[in-house]
């Protein structure tokens, strides 16, 4: 059995979790393994329709009043307890903020290892094989796990969403008892919740700026360009962030976020090793830079040697009137 932990946001399964489910369904298909979607919470059972549509054969809802708000302690106890009981071979999480917080805690409770930020997994001769970048993407590491179950957190935006013709199903509710005093900390609020800003790690298109943007105000150009795409976000190089032009949550690179969007556009980014490590797994990379020697051009699929302040307005125009996007202004994210 393959168990997939499903993160729910505003009553909906997160897209990253559905990507993981899609991958679990692909892995399970050859030998007919069962894919179980695992939900947890404190209220009425989660809406699991999406989970069935993306490949789950069953859905389990771990319910306890103590899980009404997220706590690593409470969720890890509930999830690890259920895993111990049901004995899956493989347990998958999405490597989101929550997934990265929860998965290692579950692994430690089960005394098993974890593959962080996995970008490829397959069934080998002796169990599952996991590929993940290390040294900020300069190295690809292939791991196997020495104990069962094998746990992995999959990088968002890498695994393809794939709907199934699966019939829906019922959610099985499991009441979980969490001992009083077991939870010594929990989430008490989310600021900017429902904010329109899409995280760069989840975006399909990343429009990034570097030192060549010259000043903070010019990042507005990138935002305007991003608004012409659905699911786009603005990123930045470390030097732009360290210059205070944009917040560090936008930083891409070895000491920032690792992104793998379908389209990555780098404006005025020279392409230091640090930066390339964070974006070279993007599907298509466009670089615009004045300096023909900039290392970013080596990573780019399409390079334009030129002035970004000339290119961006033309690009906006070209995308604006030849695409479906943008006509209605900024699409919802």
């Amino acid at each position: 059995m393959i168990a997939v932990f499903i993160e729910v946001h505003n009553g909906q399964a997160k897209r990253s979790s559905l990507e993981v489910l899609s991958e679990a369904a692909r892995l399970a298909r050859p030998d007919g393994s069962r894919v179980t979607a695992l939900f947890a919470g404190g209220g009425p059972a989660a809406e699991a329709g999406e989970a069935f549509r993306f490949g789950a054969a069953e859905a389990i809802y771990l319910e306890s009043p103590a899980l009404a708000a997220y706590s690593a302690q409470g969720y890890a106890l509930a999830v690890a307890g259920w895993l111990e009981e049901s004995g899956p071979d493989l347990v998958l999480f999405a490597a989101t903020a929550l997934g990265k917080d929860l998965a290692p805690r579950v692994a430690a409770l089960l005394d098993v290892g974890l593959v962080s930020d996995c970008t490829c997994l397959r069934k080998g001769r002796d169990g599952f094989e996991f590929v993940r970048p290390a040294y900020g993407g300069k190295v690809l590491l292939t791991l196997t796990m020495n104990r069962r179950p094998a746990l992995a957190a999959l990088r968002p935006n890498v695994f393809k969403l794939e709907g199934q013709d699966q019939a829906g199903g019922q959610v099985v509710v499991k009441k979980i008892g969490i001992p009083a005093g077991a939870i010594k900390g929990m989430v008490t609020g989310i600021e900017n919740a429902g904010g329109a800003e899409l995280d760069i790690s989840e975006a399909d298109v990343v429009i990034a700026g570097g030192r060549g943007m010259k000043e903070s105000a010019n990042f507005a150009l990138l935002e305007e360009l991003a608004s012409l795409f659905p699911r786009a976000a603005v990123g930045a190089s470390r030097s732009a962030v360290d210059s205070g032009w944009i917040g560090h949550q936008h930083q891409i690179g070895q000491t920032g976020k690792i992104v793998s969007p379908a389209l990555y556009m780098a404006f005025g980014i020279s392409g230091a090793m640090q930066h390339l490590a964070g974006m070279s797994s993007s599907r298509c990379i466009v670089a615009v830079n004045k300096d023909p020697e900039a290392p970013i051009f080596k990573a780019a699929d399409y390079g334009i040697i030129g002035d970004l302040f000339e290119i961006i307005p033309r690009l906006k125009e070209e995308l604006g009137h030849s695409s479906d996007y943008g006509r209605k202004g900024s699409p919802p994210v």
Binding site: S71, Q73, T96, A97, K100, D101, P104, R105, A107, A108, D111, G113, L114, S116, G124, P133, A134, Y135, G136, G137, K138, V139, L140, L141, T142, L143, T144, N146, K184, G185, M186, V187, T188, G189, I190, E191, N192, G194, G195, E202, G247, H248, Q254, T255, L263, M273, S280, S281, R283, C284, I285, A299, Y302, G303, I304, I305, I311, R314, L319, S323
Partner: protein
């Protein structure tokens, strides 16, 4: 307040990483090593908390003897003492093994520690597992990838970035916290600090001295392969004036790359 801060020696993030084929290891010759950048935020936060609340900061590294250089840096920044847990294995990419060693140290030497601070991940293994795993092994609450931390008495509040918002977590001490960029601006060592750090002794312990059995230290993961990613094919350089290149770019994105 007793604060432990865990630091790791890693290759400089600007280095080119080469592989020793078939060994699962990187070539260390010619690399320069630094304290993992996220650990600097953890050290800085520990020092700030000590300055605000009083107490003591102990820096700890698990690794080979050369990790002492990173511990000296912690001392030079202002840590009161530093401990090295000598572990001769090269990078194992095994967060659980690391967490067991750290939890063993805390249980045996620092059972009264109030706060265990880490960087969100080492810039190398890039695992980001040890903080939450250590918290699980010790039964402590955790706040990971934190960009703001407030401690009041025996309680703390941490803020961290999640997709589309800032999440606030309130928890009791003792606790585990991992630091993200944005938490603070790490200080530089002073010359005086560097001189003083040179005179301090760094106690060295082995995992065995922490009563960890070989079974407990058995790796949870095995490295099958370590390789550099395949080189990318040369891309297309678009030439002409801005109008022409932009038109061509949009066409290629649509028709060739099919990404828009």
């Amino acid at each position: 307040m007793k604060i432990l801060v865990f630091v790791k020696r890693v290759p400089d993030t600007g280095s080119v990483i080469r592989i020793q084929p078939g060994t699962g290891r990187i070539v260390e010759d010619g690399l320069s090593f630094i304290m993992s950048p996220y650990d600097e935020y953890a050290v800085e936060e520990a020092l700030r908390l000590k300055e605000a609340c009083g107490g003591e900061v102990t820096a700890v590294s698990v690794g080979r003897e050369d990790a002492a250089a990173v511990l000296r840096k912690c001392l030079a920044m202002g840590a009161d003492e530093a401990w090295l847990i000598k572990d001769d294995l090269p990078e194992t990419f095994d967060g659980l093994r690391m967490a067991k060693i750290i939890a063993g140290l805390v249980r045996q030497k620092f059972p009264r520690a109030d706060l265990l601070l880490f960087g969100r991940q080492s810039a190398g293994a890039d695992n980001g597992q040890s903080p939450a795993m250590t918290a699980a092994l010790l039964g402590l609450p955790q706040a990971t990838e934190v960009t703001r931390l407030e401690v009041t008495g025996d309680r703390a509040t941490a803020w961290r970035e999640i997709e589309g918002g800032i999440e606030k977590t309130e928890f009791e001490l003792p606790a585990v916290v991992s630091a993200h960029k944005g938490l603070n601006e790490p200080r530089y060592e002073t010359l005086r600090g560097i001189m003083a750090a040179k005179k301090k002794t760094i106690p060295v312990l082995s995992p065995e001295e922490l009563e960890l059995s070989p079974e407990q230290l058995a790796p949870a993961v095995s490295i099958l392969d370590l390789d550099v990613p395949p080189a990318k094919q040369a891309g297309k350089s678009l030439r002409g004036n801005a109008d022409e290149t932009v038109k061509e770019l949009v066409r290629l994105l649509r028709e060739e790359a099919k990404v828009i």
